[in-house]
Symmetry: C2
Subunit: 144 residues, 2 copies
């Protein structure tokens, strides 16, 4: 239950935006919250899309300064890959590697209930390595 | 030698830019090469800074459309964290988690010789898990 464990630490709150928000508004949300992606959501938390730092940079590359006044709807990724509460650490890693993405909204019946970033997964892996090392030391101390 | 193994697969080439390049030029480099960061380098491969998608988004948040004509020198991170050929997978993960970064230029005597992204590290972990599983199956088949 790695997804549940990560969310227990970081919380279930996700920064969202509307399809009508501009790219500039999205850029400011990303910077203000120090995050890499916002989920585009309806009021009832149904996921409509996702806009990452990469989507913002891509829009700028294409349209220059004009991109900043475009809407989230025109730059968002609509085929959103999500994860679910029961996914394993390997499941998350495979999803992120296969689709070359760094953010997985956590969905429950199509509704947004959290967000897992690639940084969260790596942080969790490090903690697991440290814990295994502690268990190993404790076992050796006991066995000795 | 995880750094060497990753570079053997992805190659040693790194997309670089000059301190005088504009933010718009950097954005286009990131998009054209489908990467998340460029290293700002002198001609002799001495690392001067790094500009990531996050730096581009942050500059836009601050200055709006004007940001696109600013220079790389004015938006780059100059205190660049690097890794070296002998670093372990855990070393890379700790560096990335501690500093909340997703790109580690590989340095040899202060000169750029490759780039490791958080995606590369996760991909390597998945391959290691798959390999362990194969070894386990082979062992069980032999033991049985």
């Amino acid at each position: 239950m790695v997804v549940a464990r990560i969310l227990a630490t970081k919380g279930h709150a996700v920064v969202t935006a509307l399809t009508t928000d501009t790219v500039l508004t999205i850029a400011r949300k990303l910077t203000d919250h120090k995050i890499g992606a916002v989920v585009i959501c309806q009021a009832d938390n149904v996921i409509e899309g996702i806009v990452s730092e990469r989507d913002v940079v891509r829009a700028i590359s294409k349209d220059g300064p004009m991109a900043l006044s475009r809407t989230a709807a025109s730059v968002m990724t609509t085929n959103v890959k999500t994860c679910k509460a029961g996914d394993s650490e390997a499941d998350l890693m495979v999803l992120m590697t296969t689709h070359r993405i760094r953010h997985l909204p956590v969905a429950n019946n199509g509704k947004l209930v959290g967000m897992i970033s690639i940084g969260d997964v790596v942080k969790h892996r490090i903690e697991a390595i440290e814990q295994e090392s502690e268990h190993m030391k404790a076992y050796i101390a006991t066995a000795g």
